[in-house]
């Protein structure tokens, strides 16, 4: 477990958080390379299926980042995120998944340093939790 490097999937909205990540890059801010970024047009596009699929196929944590409430490019897409993700977290807890593995953040295009900070902190949180898979059994794997 000592050398465990978590894999984290980040769904970043095109208009705010992805631009925030760009700003962190342009500003040469250091943050861990554990995050794999997937750009989505809106955080409201992130279906819980994406998160569950990420976890079931090898991710140890998932970050969903979008515009601050009120700032959505599509007026209210991120309000759907704001309602959907807490419900998803409740379901995850019932599945026995630590809810710290999935994090929802509001990061604007101007908040490059906040983005770098969130990635650093989140990577450490997930590192402490350890790998998501306990026994390496694949979905619908061997009978038993």
């Amino acid at each position: 477990m000592e050398n465990f490097e978590p894999k984290i999937i980040g769904f970043l909205c095109n208009w705010c958080s992805y631009a925030g990540a760009d700003l962190a890059g342009v500003g040469r801010m250091q943050y861990p390379s554990n995050l794999r970024v997937i750009r989505v047009m809106c955080s409201g596009r992130v279906d819980p299926t994406f998160v569950f699929k990420a976890l079931s196929e090898g991710a140890d944590g998932v970050l969903i980042a979008g515009c601050h409430p009120g700032d959505c490019h599509y007026t209210d897409g991120n309000y759907n995120t704001l309602k959907r993700i807490p419900l998803m977290l409740k379901v995850l807890e019932q599945f026995g998944v630590e809810k710290e593995r999935v994090r929802m953040e509001w990061i604007s295009a101007a908040e490059g340093s906040i983005f770098a900070g969130v990635v650093k902190e989140f990577t450490e949180t997930v590192r402490k939790l350890g790998p998501y898979k306990r026994n390496g059994l694949e979905r619908g794997g061997k009978v038993g």
Binding site: P48, M88, K133, G140
Partner: protein, 318 residues
């Protein structure tokens, strides 16, 4: 035409699917006219040994209901697969795990402990748990092995057709039987006896603006029989569930429980439902969201009531 050889089997199930077959009423005689029933443990006397003695492919159609929970279920599933030309996963348990697969939220040991030690009706001071083998003076007793995960049928053997439903409705069963008899079968792997559209498509209720301020459990309100149940705060799975059941629950003023399974192209019914519920909640702030979510009792059990074997997340066995 030679008579068809038909087998019906129940694995980990309640027997409701078998009763549903009988619910075709007098048409059961028509089924008997075209088919010899070689195995149907709930209704006719048949022995596993007779099946084992058959040549592969002797059984034309096997309607297999129930999930695969233990080694006996698995053994019979493999046996019937070998002997059957067409294997049908019949009912929600065989298709996607159904109610038995809700046990996948817990680990095997927790399930056994709860069932054999903790339930209020259990007296078991010595903490006796079932063993697969036990030596007694008369010889060796054996029991099937209780697996740690409840599988649906296609996780164990190849399945040709899927007939969802808890149970499949008699009308749809009759449609399936007719399709088999006429040889008019869809491509392998198809879901038979359900539509490609959501239940909402065939639901006759008036649907207006979906904005929910609080959710109710079915015993907490008497819903308006004309209006969409989801709009009234009942967690109706209609938007993410295949139609074809004739909206029986909806007609009885009860919300859809999702037994006909996910729509084509959807890999996780529960996740899709979280997505749709999220967008109809009429709240804005995180605090309001939390208090609204408090009104949903057991979200995971509700959203994955029939689909835990095929859920992306494997519950306690990840």
């Amino acid at each position: 035409m030679a008579k068809l050889n038909l087998a019906l089997y129940w694995a980990s199930s309640c027997g409701g699917c078998d009763v549903a077959v009988l619910d075709v009423n007098e048409k059961i005689l028509d089924i008997a006219a075209v088919a010899d029933i070689v195995l149907w443990p709930v209704a006719v006397d048949g022995k596993y040994a007779d099946i084992e003695a058959m040549e592969p492919g002797t059984i034309d159609v096997c309607l297999f209901n129930g999930a695969v929970r233990n080694s006996e279920n698995e053994h019979i599933a493999m046996l019937l697969r070998e002997k059957s030309k067409v294997m049908v996963a019949f009912g929600s348990c065989a298709v996607s795990g159904g109610i038995p697969a809700l046990a996948n939220f817990k680990e095997r040991d927790e399930v056994l402990k709860r069932v054999f030690m903790e339930t209020p009706s259990t007296v078991n001071p010595e903490g006796v748990l079932p063993l697969t083998r036990c030596e007694v003076p008369e010889g060796t007793l054996s029991l099937p092995e209780f697996y740690k995960y409840v599988h649906c049928l296609d996780q164990v053997v190849e399945v040709d057709y899927y007939v969802p439903g808890c149970p499949p409705t008699p009308q749809r069963i009759w449609d399936v039987v007719q399709a088999i008899v006429s040889g008019n079968l869809p491509p392998r792997g198809a879901t038979v006896g359900a539509t490609e559209k959501s239940l909402c498509d065939e639901c006759k209720r008036i649907k207006q603006n979906k904005k929910v301020k609080r959710f109710y459990r079915v015993h907490e309100i008497i819903p308006d029989p004309e209006r969409c149940l989801l709009e009234q705060g009942l967690l109706c799975m209609g938007p993410v569930t295949r139609g074809g059941c004739g909206a029986q629950c909806i007609s009885a003023n009860m919300p859809c429980r999702g037994c006909y399974g996910p729509l084509p192209g959807v890999i996780d019914q529960g996740a899709k439902y979280i997505s749709s519920i999220g967008s109809i909640m009429d709240v804005q702030s995180p605090e309001e969201v939390e208090s609204l979510l408090e009104t949903i009792a057991d979200p995971a059990g509700t959203f994955y009531r029939f689909g835990m074997s095929t859920a992306l997340l494997r519950g306690a066995n990840r």
